[in-house]
Symmetry: C2
Subunit: 447 residues, 2 copies
């Protein structure tokens, strides 16, 4: 039985980042840049005003200055400032010759149609932005591996990257197994268990920006299971829930072995999530990482050159992972979701080129004592609140792995190391934030 | 000039949650339930095993037991256990009559084809899940207002909620203003400023799950601006960037007033983001909040009844906000993005029914001294790292509102109150996490 971190290493070292594809700027949020982005211009293109106000010669201040002209944003100045002169200037407009500073309009008093009084003195460079301060043509402004956030999209628009080379998303298939499962479209049968895993896993995959293929339910029959697994292995990552524990009726293990899947581990020392299996099916068209790096370099240069010509980047590349990865997730809905967060999400994110693979963690104080048997790393569903000292964590109640409601109510997973035998109230603990906790119900700061 | 919290209250109290629409389960991630969800069955439907192992009479233990039958998940037991008997049982399978506990297979030793030796003793109820422990038919399992996370989707699948009533998403339009702007499709003109605001705002809206309409660039001409604003006011929320500061060439303010927009404020005491305006255009078909609550109740009952019949929920409702909201955002790209996070995102989330409106905050220790002029709440772009004590924050460098790269590099915004004159290194500060910081580059826990 593997430790969590050992198993996680096995999973992560199995996978390389996928090749590139070209996406439209409008569809690029959350993707990861596959090549460096170079500036196509100097920004600002000349020294510009950082404020609405007056462009001045700092040596003239304080004093009453004659207004030489109005420089609107987008216009170029036409008058070079002589001593005693200033120009009205808009934020972002080019500084006139002779000027070396800007005074914002709030700090001035217009005393006649052509004159403004300025009572303060400033140094050269006040409220200016210098040419090339933000970016210089030809310089790298964003490096390969950058996750595309709204701020990054602002930069991409600035350098006119209409199409962007990003790492491909893996294709993901989801299969549930077990005679006891009732599908979403079946009528209610009290003898059956509704298949929630397919949809909870679907949503976990969607939360990473990937639309998975739902393969449905494979019954406990070796031929049927084999047929479903073969379909699933056409995807980059196959998630199979149920059927991997040690009961005699489980067909998943022998069928996976029969299909040539190289199983890396079958169990992990964690709770919930004990029966977690991981394996891979080697495919032929293996691309080495070195090739991928070279491809990215080539793409970067190409993209830059094409940008300069105002044309579009090269067409979308075909991209496929070299191996197919298979997870045998526990049939219990909570266990399955917890295993997804710990192992599947980091793998999928690595394949997409992300370097941040793990759910954000915060420290919290435990609100009540918690006892556990040592030997397995525990992921305890908790709700978070906060007081002056920071976050407070309290268990959602029952930690039975069958109780999916506790997962729906959880803000995070408190992680307790395998050596732990329990904690008193007030102890500091680590909580992994779950999906949906990106926002909070209070601004969290005071003015 | 309004304080941030005062302005935020004005914004939030202007908007009500939007009406409902029906969406497919597969499209519901991130939406907010508009009505309570009731259980359509008992779960588990009977007492079931929580493990793969043997169903036993606890009084028989420890001892050697005769195996009466195999109960697979999905099958019903056929043999009632007599003293000295047990049944092999799969996780999730129904407990046979007479049994009151389960022993997991790892704790047993099969000594012949029909006999198993169990060396430990357990209490009644060991490794069982009782009928209705997870949910009881007719009880509320999820309340209106719940954000649909993967765990919630698991519950929705469990109760066969194929279509779900959620709050509508607001329609959002984005307009940039200014003669100095160069659009993404224009050739590079060094005298112009590339329009990054349209795309950065687009991505911020997309990050909330809304696909905005991009209206392009309105030039500094009253008629053109009026035409664009009129188009924008057909949306629930209109974001106008640029043109709201106090320069003489700004046309936005008079045009907004001419169009009957009731402006609530024009400036906020914050940095960056000073010239931030907010107003609303009253529309006729006003729906009171009381009506909305009643609608939601009706929908809940209806949904429950229809679920019981196995049919689909009612058709999608038409939904429109009663008022149109207009934000005049600063033209500076960083200011515009910061204002979006502080004011626009909470409004959009409130309209969608979210109760968590604000970006998650964490405490961090400042890595260097930071000085500021008091009077305005500052939102300082910072990068986060961590050590044993927790998060560490350090400024991304220049805090000029023109430097969008610093926003692209920031992990969060350190919020410093308006009364603050500066902080020494080592001080504890509040950091709002930005989009893209949901994940981190380290698991954050140790085993």
């Amino acid at each position: 039985m593997e430790q969590v971190s050992f198993a996680l290493n096995i999973v992560l070292e199995s996978a390389a980042t996928l090749k590139n594809e070209s996406v439209e700027l409008e569809k690029s949020l959350g993707r990861v840049l596959a090549c460096d982005i170079l500036a196509n211009r100097d920004l600002p293109p000349y020294d510009v005003s950082a404020m609405d106000g007056f462009a001045v010669r700092s040596a003239d201040l304080p004093g009453i200055l004659a207004i030489a002209e109005d420089i609107k944003a987008g216009d170029m100045p036409t008058v070079a400032l002589k001593p005693g002169q200033c120009s009205r200037i808009m934020t972002g407009a080019a500084l006139p010759e002779g000027a070396n500073a800007v005074i914002r309009v709030e700090d001035t008093r217009q005393i006649s149609v052509n004159e403004v009084q300025i009572d303060l003195a400033v140094k050269s460079g006040n409220d200016l932005r210098l040419r090339g301060e933000n970016m210089r043509a030809g310089n790298v402004v964003l490096t390969a591996g950058t996750e595309i956030t709204p701020g990054v999209i602002g930069i991409l628009a600035t350098v006119k990257a209409r199409k962007i080379e990003v790492h491909c998303k893996p294709s993901v298939a989801i299969l549930s197994t077990g005679n006891e499962l009732e599908s979403l479209d079946d009528p209610v049968d009290p003898c059956k268990i509704p298949d929630s895993n397919t949809y909870a896993l679907m949503a976990q995959v969607q939360a990473l920006g990937i639309e998975p293929k739902l393969l449905g339910i494979a019954r406990d029959d070796q031929d049927e299971l084999e047929w479903h697994l073969k379909r699933g292995l056409e995807y980059d990552v196959l998630l199979v829930s149920g059927g991997t524990s040690v009961g005699v009726h489980d067909y998943v293990r022998p069928t996976m072995e029969k299909l040539g899947i190289e199983m890396k581990f079958w169990r992990v020392a964690m709770k919930p999530g004990h029966p977690l299996a991981f394996g891979l099916l080697h495919r032929t068209q293996k691309t080495s990482e070195a090739d991928a790096v070279q491809d990215a370099r080539r793409a970067a240069t190409q993209a830059y050159l094409m940008d300069r010509q105002g044309s579009e980047h090269r067409a979308t590349q075909q991209c496929a992972a070299s191996d197919a990865f298979v997870f045998g997730l526990p049939g219990n809905p909570v266990s399955s979701m917890v295993c997804f967060e710990q192992f599947v999400a980091p793998l999928l994110r690595r394949m997409m080129g992300n370097t941040r693979l793990y759910r954000r963690t915060v420290k919290a104080r435990l609100q009540h004592p918690f006892s556990m048997k040592p030997g397995r790393t525990e992921f305890v569903r908790v709700q978070l609140s906060s007081d002056e000292s920071g976050y407070l964590a309290s268990s959602t109640g029952t930690q039975s792995s069958g109780v999916l409601l506790s997962m729906a109510r959880a803000d995070g997973l408190m992680v307790l190391p395998a050596c732990c035998t329990g904690l008193p109230a007030g102890e500091e603990v680590i909580v992994q934030l779950l999906d949906g906790t990106e926002f909070q119900d209070d601004p969290g700061y005071r003015e």
